[in-house]
Every structure is written in C-alpha cells, then in structure tokens.
C-alpha cells in the first residue's frame, strides 16, 4: 500500500526528516510515535503533498507508484486521506456542500455518477450515526464554531464518506475527551479491513488503548529509531522517550 524509502524532507530550508523507511501493507495499521518536533507531522504532510514540504531524497510509493510529483488533490483522489490535527475553518461554506464537493470530486475521478443534493443528504445521514454527530453540524460552515471534539468527529465523518484506502490520523487523539476518543476509535476499528490501511500519528499511547496497531514506530529527530509490536507503545509509556535516546 505505502512504501516510504529513505525519505528526506526539508521545510523552508530546514532538514526535518533524515531517512525514513516504512512499509505499510494493505489491512495494516502502523502507529508513529514521537515527541513534539520529532517530525511526525512533517511525515504526514509530505505523504499528502503539502506545499513547502520538499522531498530532497528518497521516495514515497503508493500502490506501486511514486507520488512525490503528484498534486495534493491527486493524491487524495487516489485514496490517501489525512485527518488533520487542526482542521481548518472555512467561513460561509456549508459543511454539507463542502463534503459533497469532495465526495463528487472523488466519484468523478472514479467515473461514478455524482450525487445530487438530495441523494447526498441521504448518504451523509447514514454516515452521521457512526460518528454520533447531530445533523445540525451539516448546516454549519465547515468547522466554524466546532469544539475540538466536534472537529475531529467531522474529520472522521469525512473519512467515512470519502472511503480512503490509506488513512493518516494526525494527532487525532489530541484535545479529545474520553467519549469522543471512544467514538473515533470505534470508527477506526469499524472502518479498518483487509484492504484499508491506517497510519496513526500520536504523541501518547492513549489512543492505542482502543485501537490495535500491527506495528509501532518511534520517531526521534526525523528518524525511526525503533519499531516493534504494540508492546513497544506500552514500554514507551512506562519508560518515556528518553529511554530510547542516546
């Protein structure tokens, strides 16, 4: 699904990632753990193709093709989704309208019939239940006046509607209360199947109580210094990151 090879990334002239290797197979869930400034978000921004995150060396292979030269929207259409750490507010743009534009862009790309307003509303309402969101959020502007938890649930709603094959959850657990955390975790667990992969980026192992990563990687100073099973997360919790730093 996703292969990251010796990835070096520079942001505004500053080297952040110093050779990352990852291999996420279909149906796998990988967790990337690390302290602030270790390069976790840079990794997710580089995979999704954000401006100013330049790949200086190495490659990102998605479904057997290099995506380094692809536009961010093309990567999204190809099935890569990122749940943002800080979802953006877009004033005046109706949440349903936004979601429909996104879903229709994808349907058009897949040569499927685009949804009209009525059929989309039916579609989105069926997804709302899964994230336990009230339909009033559909009428608001995108993320405007949403609490932290509501924003993250809205991200989850978008994920469910867009049906990506690779979902990157960037610090999804930050700023979430325990109820929202459970809802999101349940969403992730229900969504995951043998063809869908997750890359979960997190600071703490709090989220990992509710979801089961196949592999845990520890990122320090732009390099993965240790990989292991779920037990690595528990060990980290116990001993702290300094245990791995030398």
């Amino acid at each position: 699904m996703l292969e990251v090879k010796n990835l070096h990334v520079e942001v505004e002239g500053k080297q952040i990632l110093n050779g990352i290797d990852l291999n996420v197979k279909p149906g796998e869930m990988h967790a990337i753990m690390g302290l602030n400034g270790s390069g976790k978000s840079t990794l997710s921004n580089a995979i999704t193709g954000r401006e100013n995150y330049s790949v200086t060396k190495g490659d990102i292979i998605y479904k057997n093709e290099s995506i380094v030269e692809m536009e961010p929207n093309e990567r999204a259409l190809a099935g890569i989704f990122m749940s943002f750490q800080y979802p953006t507010v877009i004033p005046g743009v109706n949440n349903t309208y936004f979601l429909r534009a996104a879903v229709n862009a994808k349907r058009k790309y897949n040569k499927q019939k685009e949804y009209d307003a009525a059929s989309f509303l039916k579609f989105v309402k069926s997804k709302l239940k899964e994230v336990e969101m009230d339909s009033k959020y559909l009428k608001r502007a995108v993320n405007e006046g949403f609490s932290g938890g509501e924003k993250k649930r809205n991200e989850m709603l978008q994920l469910l509607c867009l049906e990506p094959e690779l979902a990157i959850m960037d610090e999804t657990d930050s700023g979430l209360d325990i109820d929202a955390l459970k809802i999101i975790s349940k969403g992730i667990n229900n969504y995951k199947n043998k063809d869908r992969s997750f890359l979960v980026i997190t600071h703490y192992q709090r989220l990992l109580k509710y979801i089961e990563p196949d592999v845990v990687h520890v990122l320090i100073d732009g390099k993965i210094i240790k990989s292991g099973g779920k037990e690595l997360a528990l060990e980290l919790e116990e001993k702290g990151y300094s245990w791995l730093e030398s």
Partner: protein, 482 residues
C-alpha cells in the same frame, strides 16, 4: 505553487472574456467630440421636450467649468473627451413589436443569456435591453401596465411622462453633483425608467441589460426609479462590453426615490470588459453615480452590487435617509483581478429620526488587482437614535494585489449607535490545502472559499441572479491562483 499548477493557471488566464464579441450591425454613430451641437443632436434624436434640452445645456455649461476629480485611489490614462462618440444606435431601431427587432440584436442578447422573446424569458423577470445609446426592447410592458407599473426606456418616459420625469430628474443627484454626473446630465442617452404607483407591489423582477458595442463610444445611461407610497420593486442591472484595445467610458447616473413605506431593492451585476489581463490595455472605465433618497417615512432602499468587470471602477451607491424610520442598505462584493482597479463603497446620510443603515462590503483582490473601500456614514443633528452597522472585509489572493479601506464617520447627534468591523485576510494556504486534501482542485477550492466569503451579500440577490453571481465569480477568478 509548483510548475504544473502554474502551467494550468497560465492557460486559464489566457481564456477570453466570454462576452468580448462584437455585434456586426449597422449603426448611426455620431462623430467623436462634445459641444452644444452634440447635445442638440442627442436631444433632437430623442424628440425631447425643450425643458429637457435646456436642462442638458445647463449641465454642459457647468461641466465645462468643472475639473475631473483626482482624489480617488485609482490610476488611469487621461480621458480625451473630444475623442468619444456620445451617441450610437443600431439603425432600424424604431419598432412596434419585438418581432421587428433585428435578428442580429436578438442573437446578441441570446448569446449573453438574455432572451428577449417573452416566451423564452425567465419567469417573472421583465427586461429592458439597452444597446449603446438606445433602449432596443422592453419586455412584459403590457402586463406591467395592467398593474399600473411603468417600465420603459428613459427616452420614452421623457416624451410620454414628462411631468413625472421633470419632477424627479436631478432631484437626488443634481447636475452639479460631481464631474461625471454633470457630464452624464449633459449627454445622457438611454436607461430605464420605472414608476411604481401607490400601494402596488411590482409583480415581477425588473431588469435592464446594458451592452456597449460600438468602438469609441461612451455609454451615459440614466436610470430613474420612483416608488410611490406603500409600493415595492426589485430591480436588477447587468452589463457587458466587447473586448477592445482602447478604454471606453461608462458614466451612468441612477436616481431612486422611495416615498412613505416604499421599498426599492436595486441589484447590480457588473461585468464590463476588464481589459487585457496581461497588459491592462482596454477595458471600461466605470465611473458611476448612484444615489437613493428615502424621502418618506419607513421607506427602504437597498443596494446590492457584484462588481467583477471594468478596468477601473469608481462608484458609491448611497442612501439619503430623510424619512423617519427609513432604512438604507449596501451589500457589495467587488473583485479585482489581473490589473483591475476599484475604488468603491457607499455613503449613508442619516437625516430622519430612528433611521438605520447597514453596510456589508466584501472585497476580493487577486493578480495585481488594487481595491479600495471608501465609505461615509454621516449622522446629521436631526437624526435622533440613528444606527449604523458597517462591516468591511477584504480577502487577498496571492501577494501582488492590494486592499485599502477608508471609512469616514461623521456623527453630529449624540444618540447615534455606530458599529464598525473590518478585516483583511489572505486566502489561507491551510484552507487550500485542506480542500486539496479532500480531492478538490485548487481552482474549485478558491471559488468555494471566495463564495463562502461573499455569502452574506449573495444572499441579498434575487435567487436567479445569486446563481449567476456565483458563476460569474468563478469565471472572474480563473487563473487567480499562482
């Protein structure tokens, strides 16, 4: 943005202005130049009453003494007033019915999306089509007449309803008001005349569609709308022009009068040719004076404008709130892309008690566009408990454009309540990336973000036109991201 994105954008920039075609039609066009003779010629052509000729001449003499203003925050090449033709009309324009209209003209309006055939028209919208200096057709006149509503060209009104025209012409904007209004008063050619009698709610939307076609002509239209006691009307104007290398002057005057309990809603979708996107050559100088007088109690005048065209726009649709409890509103979206410039805003003059005004202005600058919001709120001594709310927001796309705001507030009565909010923001990289990450391409994302930004204003437009405005915005924004 990376290379491939720039390439797409470059290509989009080169797309033609959609309405830039020229209609090949025989016209009577007066040789360029302005003198008393020109005015005599126009007045005769229109078979005007002598008082109107005298009024024009008075304005012309005044204009000769005036100086072109230079305080506005726009730059343009000097206008040679002797190099403009002040009258141009398609030959064969005296028709008895629409069937006699030159097919070339019908075709022109069809191309613009304005069918003049009543059968094909959008439901419930009457249209007055003004082509260069003359009104060539007004639809649904008979039906409107049965309600007592007069909707015709200004020229016809001057002949058929001289007493109403005489009473109101220049009553809101005197010929001495400003340089361009004065010029217009001297040489105005055609425009629309609307009269809504006492107690009548106009049964359909009225609209005028202005088209400049001939080269080297100026368009000097004059519109007058009168809403008598307890009446109401919603009026919309649209404008386009061919692509030409030279600049053309459009200096219109619009006067509105609302008597007791009357409401006038005036909407503009202005899409004059903006000039060459790269060189800035050509394009319309849109120097317009628009003012409404809320002369009666509880009257209301609402201006909504969507300004996307013209090389240079310079206009301030204003309200004089004379009647007690009268309400003035100004909702504006102005977009300047490439090398366009705009200095626009409003004036709200509070005279009556408990008068209320609202100003919502949304400015969008892209490319090397320069835009200024200039607004004045004046609370006179007599205006007890006046209220104003102003909100001026600007959004910048790219880093070569500019937005400027000049709000003037003059309060002479202590009981006034004033609120003013202003913001300037750049279209966020984070917003664009968020949309991109959801599979929405950059052009669509910009349109979506800008439309969201303009929503409060678009909501004020009649429904059919809100859709048009949204589309127009998309077209005008093409190539703005780079």
């Amino acid at each position: 943005m990376n290379q491939s994105k720039n390439a797409v954008i470059d290509q989009r920039v080169k797309e033609d202005y959609k309405y830039g075609f020229v209609t090949d039609i025989e016209s009577d066009t007066l040789a360029p130049g302005i003198s008393e003779k020109t005015i005599h010629f126009i007045s005769e052509k229109k078979k005007e009453p002598s008082w109107l000729l005298a009024w024009r001449l008075k304005a012309y003499r005044k204009w000769l003494e005036m100086k072109e203003p230079n305080w506005q925050n726009v730059k343009y090449a000097n206008i040679d007033y002797q190099d403009i033709s002040y009258f141009s009309a398609p030959k064969k324009n005296e028709l008895k019915s629409l069937d006699e209209l030159d097919p070339e003209l019908l075709n022109t309006y069809n191309k613009l999306g304005i069918p003049l055939d009543e059968q094909k028209m959008m439901n419930g919208i009457a249209v007055d089509a003004v082509f260069d200096s003359v009104s060539i057709a007004t639809t649904f006149r008979e039906e409107l007449k049965s309600h007592g509503v007069i909707f015709c060209s200004f020229s016809e009104a001057a002949v058929d309803y001289p007493e109403i025209v005489k009473k109101y012409l220049g009553s809101v904007i005197p010929h001495t008001d400003n340089y361009f209004a004065c010029l217009n008063s001297a040489v105005f050619t055609d425009g629309s005349f609307v009269f809504i009698p006492k107690g009548v709610k106009c049964p359909m939307e009225l609209s005028t569609y202005f088209r400049i076609n001939e080269a080297k002509t100026g368009q000097f239209e004059r519109t007058l709308i009168i809403a008598e006691e307890g009446s109401s009307v919603s009026y919309l104007e649209g404008c386009t022009a061919p692509m030409r290398d030279e600049n053309q002057l459009h200096a219109a005057v619009v006067e509105l009068v609302a008597l007791d309990n009357a409401t006038i809603k005036y909407s503009t979708v202005q899409n004059w040719y903006p000039g060459n996107p790269e060189t800035g050559e050509g394009g319309i100088y849109n120097f317009v004076t628009k003012r409404g007088l809320c002369s009666g109690k509880n009257s209301r005048i609402s201006w909504t404008q969507v300004e996307t065209g013209s090389a240079v726009t310079w206009k301030y649709p204003s309200c004089i709130l004379k009647g007690d409890n009268s309400v003035g509103e100004f909702y504006s979206v102005a977009l300047t892309n490439n090398l366009q410039q705009a200095d626009t805003g409003t004036k709200m003059i509070h005279i009556g008690k408990n008068t209320k005004s609202t100003i919502i202005s949304k400015g969008i600058s892209a490319g090397k566009g320069q835009q200024t919001y200039r607004g004045e709120v004046k609370i006179m001594k007599s205006a007890d408990n006046a209220r104003n709310f102003s909100q001026c927001d600007s959004i910048l796309i790219g880093d070569r454009c500019g937005a400027h705001t000049f709000p003037y507030i003059d309060v002479r009565n202590q009981s006034a309540t004033m609120e003013h909010e202003a913001s300037t923001s750049k279209i966020g990289e984070d917003q664009l990336f968020y949309c991109n990450q959801r599979g929405i391409d950059t052009e669509d994302a910009v349109s979506m973000i800008v439309n969201g930004f303009c929503k409060e204003v678009f909501n004020e437009l009649p429904m059919e036109f809100a859709m048009e405005a949204t589309k127009l915005m998309e077209v005008s924004l093409e190539g703005s991201v780079g």
